[in-house]
Symmetry: C2
Subunit: 344 residues, 2 copies
Amino acid sequence: MGSGYVTLEQVARHAGVSLATASRVLNGSTRQVGEELRRRVTASAHELGYLANASAQTLARNTSTLVGLVVHDIADPYFSSIASGVTRSAEEQGLIVVLGTTGRAPRRETQLLATLRSHRARAVVLAGSRTVDDETGGGLAEEITMFTRQGGRVACVSQEGLPADTVVPDNRNGAAALARHLVDLGHRRFAILAGPTDLRTARDRLDGFHSALSAGGIALDPHNVVHGAFTRDGGYESTRRLLATGTDATCLFAVNDVMATGAMAALRDAGLRVPHDLSVAGFDDIPTLRDLTPGLTTVRLPLEWMGEKAARLALEEDPPAEARTVSVAGEVVVRDSTAPPAGA
Amino acid sequence: MGSGYVTLEQVARHAGVSLATASRVLNGSTRQVGEELRRRVTASAHELGYLANASAQTLARNTSTLVGLVVHDIADPYFSSIASGVTRSAEEQGLIVVLGTTGRAPRRETQLLATLRSHRARAVVLAGSRTVDDETGGGLAEEITMFTRQGGRVACVSQEGLPADTVVPDNRNGAAALARHLVDLGHRRFAILAGPTDLRTARDRLDGFHSALSAGGIALDPHNVVHGAFTRDGGYESTRRLLATGTDATCLFAVNDVMATGAMAALRDAGLRVPHDLSVAGFDDIPTLRDLTPGLTTVRLPLEWMGEKAARLALEEDPPAEARTVSVAGEVVVRDSTAPPAGA
DNA sequence: CGGCGGTTGGAAAACTCTTTCCCTGTGATC
DNA sequence: GATCACAGGGAAAGAGTTTTCCAACCGCCG
């Protein structure tokens, strides 16, 4: 009632038992405590309004109830969908999630992991897709190793090649399936908003799309592949640059939905109609963007599920020694932003 | 090197100094340490790969570097925008944010606050808008009091009446300004998707809109006010119910953008054109939804800024004793989803 | 009735820091 | 040269739990 804290010792004294007994009652240890004492302790704890000091527990147990979640940008609906899945898994198990944002700075990822390690976090989910250049990670792999060596677990979403469990979308095949669909529609000349050159996810989608075209005997004009930021504004900007060059493409593939959104805006601003003048397709099937008009043809990824799955992998009871990889297939979702080309 | 942890004691021994000195060097206390020793300690720490144990520090200092953030649903772009602002503020100050989601359960809010308290969190930002019925809070106000009494600070976004700093949008005036604009366009018969009946934010927006209409001598048919969930699907569903009753409205106001999104989808599915057959307006100006077509007329709220501001209030150096309230004005943003009614 | 496995309770060590208190040495002041 | 203030260093006392280890006790078996 005063302004101080109620400690376990006070509870123990109030109940007339030892510290050990009080601890055993209030934090379900393996040891049994007799009916009578158990009752007295819980009554005292309730009466005094006891709330355990989490840091003392973490210190004594050498493990906390924290789960880390590292994303590039929580305002990006791609990441907030994943975050939603991760928090669901974590909260289901009574754990609390700490959210770190990197702003796409690889060093920050390593830094956050160290912080999480210093907090004895149980696990961490790394959701930022990584750059191709492994060395820019600033010792990410090394930091992951330290983290796991100290008893923590790590799971990644959409980042291969790290010493950790991984949930990874099948970007190549998804993009390839999309390409085949678009070719079936009659398209032959494609433009691609390919995102950053060094982003693994972006590159895989480009590659998958490209090789499906090649397999169909269709060439891709290098002038029709433009790189830019992996964001809505990046898509807008890239599209403007593309249009400035006077592209002959009949279909535009943006390697993610948020870029596709920017592209549709740029096309609209340029007076072009989708899909009449140009078909547009994206990748991810971001829930928030499903209400765009025309509806965006895209490749659906179960983002929330992926976050949930990653968290589950990292929080499993007795994990196998080997790092596992869960591959997630994408499903082509056809909506109104794509149509046969005007000439067809 | 081994699999154990490097403790401060090991660093001290390695550097040939006392624990106290090592602590002072590595954690910038008020006390000075001589040049030579300081150098030796930092060198040892670096060489051994020392990483402070955060829970031990929290226990000793009785305060942590954690900042809580409580939202209803992180996948909702309204909350992820706010979250983005909060994390920015927090990370600027070297703090880490723990994210809790309530799924709109008031009790969960209280529960999360207690957890945060047990972690000695510095501050917490409560971003879920609250229900009208104060008593369903499950002791929220009480829990806030305990939290602050223990040295933590609390700030709310969009929740008035709590004993904490508050950043609150001027929902009434924003909605009123929007109403006046729509009346000026020529509308006289309105329908409103009013959200949940017990949600303060929803009610204020409804009231503001309603009173501006009254002031203009315009009545609101109760049949044209439909309540439902504060989500995209809630908006869709409410709109379907509205259409089923055969409304005579020429303009539809949804009390937030995500509901408006659902409304536009429902209208499209019903074969109605926006704004030709019916004008639609929302509230919030969610960034992700700015690319809807037709562009949604709405009231802009600086969501990221609000999150940032709330965090800043809660993290201020020496806060005044009184709880402060920062009111944020909304700005009417006119886009293509609204137009003069067909008859005009 | 002595010994024995199995419970239940408590004392105390451990966990890793921070911070108070005390001691020493130094240069300045009278 | 004695005194003083002060700066820098260390020993040790916390901070609030968990958990190990030991003692006591109970009922049973031989």
